[in-house]
């Protein structure tokens, strides 16, 4: 896929010049509370799964990466461009956790509007919008107002708008939340495709999503990165590790008693695995996005 991104009046061809996201010691403080605490990262092409309990600082970190929340300290650059500049934003695609839309716009109008915001020329915007509507399976509903869409359709529209400008950096904040199993698998495939040529930062609570598509894992706890890198099988099961790290917090939030270690977690893990298996089975090769085992799909991305 030929991909060009405008940077400072010129174009960077992302196939030849690898784009790097540098997060240099960023923090975000609100009065006495530190939400993100001195996080440093260097991300290159691939899918990065960002895990963490509620309130761990994932969304805050993602907002800072998207330039919509100013860090209290530190700096962020993409291909050498700071997050405050237009060139940075022209390389960015973002799907927020709580995806907002204009209820009276049709799906097509919404994409054309977002394309104009992203600086796509009119003709290109039309072409790209139609491509993406087809990709996310909304061609039939493109002329309907968004307020008539189901949650899953809105989420698919959200991912389509994030991909409009062929971003070098795609930030997805819990993109599979609220999707049915079939749509989740479809989403994973879209994300995997995007990760072949872009930096994809994916935040989720659902460990199986990350296990299936992420090349690297980033784990946050209380504003700090507690794990960063590829998950090696020798370290054991990712979900078990995740639950060991955040089990107490999740439990406190849910107001439940902590189950005996191993027993309760095992139950949760089992149900998630069951879901994953089911979705993989439901996934049909006929939809044009491939249909083999998920590990096999992601295999192409393994570096």
């Amino acid at each position: 896929m030929k991909k060009k991104t405008m940077v400072q009046g010129g174009y960077i061809n992302s196939q030849h010049i690898p784009v790097e996201l540098c997060i240099d010691n960023i923090s975000k403080k609100y009065q006495n509370k530190t939400v993100v605490d001195h996080v440093s990262l260097k991300l290159r092409t691939g899918v990065y799964g960002l895990l963490g309990a509620n309130g761990a600082g994932k969304t805050t970190l993602m907002r800072m990466i998207c330039g919509i929340l100013r860090p209290s300290e530190g700096r962020i650059t993409l291909a050498g461009q700071p997050e405050t500049c237009e060139a940075y934003r022209s390389m960015l695609g973002y799907l927020p956790q709580d995806f907002g839309y204009y209820p009276d716009f049709t799906g097509r109008e919404f994409l054309l509007y977002m394309a104009a915001l992203k600086g796509l020329p009119k003709l290109r915007a039309r072409q790209k919008s139609e491509e993406l509507l087809e990709l996310v399976g909304l061609t039939g509903q493109a002329g309907k107002k968004i307020k008539t869409y189901s949650g899953g359709m809105k989420q698919r529209l959200g991912i389509a708008q994030a991909l409009l400008n062929d971003p070098c950096l795609l930030v997805l904040d819990e993109p599979t939340a609220g999707l049915d199993p079939k749509e989740r698998v479809r989403f994973r495939d879209l994300i995997a495709q995007a990760g072949q040529s872009s930096i994809v930062l994916l935040s989720t609570h659902i460990v199986s999503d990350v296990e299936h598509i992420a090349d690297s894992i980033l784990m946050m706890k209380e504003g700090r990165l507690i794990y960063q890198g590829k998950w090696e099988e020798s370290r054991g099961d990712l979900e078990t590790f995740y639950l060991e790290q955040f089990g107490d917090e999740t439990e406190r939030r849910d107001g439940e008693e902590k189950p005996p270690r191993g027993q309760g977690w095992q139950r949760q893990k089992s149900s998630r695995e069951a879901l994953t298996v089911e979705t993989d089975r439901e996934y049909s090769p006929g939809n044009g996005t491939g249909g083999e085992d998920t590990e096999a799909e992601t295999g192409g991305r393994q570096k």
């Binding site: 919509i68 907002g100 204009y102 209820p103 915001l117 600086g119």
Partner: protein, 423 residues
């Protein structure tokens, strides 16, 4: 089409798709229509003193009757000849002084005019008809010289009395010598020519209502421009897009300004057309402003006065649209910014500062709510110095675009600093 043009179209679409836009616009049009035509719904009754018979007639018939009589004097100089004719017609009218107790219990003496009623009904009717022919001139002259003098005044005394009213205003407004000198050089010519002015004076009088209604409409429609992005959580999408922090702000601003200007033109144009249809303008367009505002120092025609107020209305509405946008951007709450717009509009409409506090008072009277008003043509205070002065409307035409520009820049700074947090 450029990206700005495309974004501008979408922003227009967003505003025009809101129910509030159409509800508030229709509300303004309805109120203005009521202002124009509501008065015509009244009925009058005329009872014959001899027979006791009552004749009902509509306000429209009454207005047309008065207009037909008033228009007979169109183009006539208010000079000794006309004044003598009028005084002859009113020769049977005497002035009596009568004591009247006002609401605040202070005792005032006011003059009331009463006509001698002859015994012969035919003679009484003839005299009544004769008086009614000169009613328009009588009322106008009486407004300047008072109830007593109207029966004896000559042209020189009439213009002296009017000049004295202007001087009294100048004293009350604390004009400087330089300002007084300015008005000596620019004052209206005498003798002035009379025109029946119902249509144009109604139009001038309704300018304040138009301003207040459009300001409230602007507050209701544009308070949500930025606030809705925050409430719908679309701000996080637009702010991280390439043109989301710069060009989008400009597109929103241009869309709001265009729609505000269109609303002002539509409301102003519809009101102008309505009064024109009901009363007609005819030659009254060329009547001196002093026919409606007797002691105004401005050497303008009524038509010029209307054009000035409509241009000021247009500029003020655009200024209000920018203000509403900035408030929306600052508060990120439609209700809060709408409330602030209401406080601003009603506050400047009803606030008053004594003229002796010259600077404060003049600043208030340069605000759109005071300046887009027929009575602003009484305001002889000027802006400037060293022989170079601007009147209130000249200042307004420079000040409002500058204020709009300043507010737009301030809004731009606020928007660029917009952060997504606390959700």
């Amino acid at each position: 089409m450029s990206q700005l043009g495309i974004l501008y179209q979408y922003e227009m679409k967003k505003i025009l798709k809101k129910k509030m836009t159409w509800i508030s616009f229709c509300g303004v049009v309805l109120v203005m229509a009521f202002c124009c035509f509501g008065v015509l719904l009244n009925r009058y009754v005329l009872t014959d003193a001899q027979t006791g018979e009552s004749v009902y007639y509509s306000a429209y018939e009454r207005a047309m009757d008065r207009q037909a009589r008033g228009e007979k004097f169109n183009g006539r100089l208010i000079d000794d000849i006309l004044l003598r004719e009028m005084q002859a017609a009113y020769a049977d009218v005497q002035t009596q002084e009568q004591e009247r107790v006002t609401d605040n219990a202070a005792t005032n003496v006011s003059a009331v005019t009463t006509a001698e009623v002859p015994d012969d009904p035919a003679e009484a009717e003839r005299l009544s008809q004769q008086r009614r022919q000169y009613e328009a001139i009588y009322n106008y002259v009486r407004g300047v010289v008072g109830n007593e003098e109207v029966h004896t005044v000559d042209a020189a005394a009439f213009y002296r009395a009017r000049q004295q009213m202007i001087r009294d205003y100048e004293q009350a407004l604390c004009l400087t010598e330089g300002e007084q000198e300015y008005w000596r050089r620019h004052e209206a010519q005498t003798p002035c020519v009379y025109y029946w002015d119902m249509g144009v004076s109604m139009m001038l009088a309704s300018s304040r209502t138009m301003l207040a209604l459009t300001a409230l409409m602007i507050g209701m429609v544009f308070s949500g421009v930025f606030a809705d992005e925050h409430i719908r959580k679309t701000d996080q999408l637009v702010l991280c897009s390439r043109h989301g922090r710069g060009m989008l702000y400009l597109a929103k601003l241009l869309a709001a300004m265009t729609l505000a200007a269109a609303a002002a033109l539509l409301v102003g144009g519809a009101t102008l057309l309505s009064f024109g249809v009901v009363y007609g303008y005819g030659e009254s367009w060329n009547a001196p402003l002093q026919i409606y505002l007797e002691s105004s120092p401005f050497a303008l025609t009524m038509g010029q006065g209307i054009v000035i107020l409509l241009v000021l209305l247009l500029l003020a509405t655009v200024l209000h649209s920018v203000l509403a946008l900035v408030l929306s951007c600052w508060t990120r709450s439609g209700v809060a910014s709408m409330s602030l717009m209401m406080v601003y509009t009603l506050g400047t409409l009803f606030a008053n500062v004594p003229e002796r506090l010259r600077l404060l008072s003049q600043c208030l009277y340069l605000s759109p709510a005071k300046a887009v008003c027929a009575s602003a043509f009484y305001d002889a205070r000027l802006v400037g110095g060293a022989g170079h002065y601007l009147t209130f409307w000249q200042t307004g035409m420079l000040l409002y675009p500058l204020l709009a520009l300043g507010l737009a820049l301030l809004g731009g700074l606020i928007y660029r600093r917009w952060q997504i947090c606390g959700r």
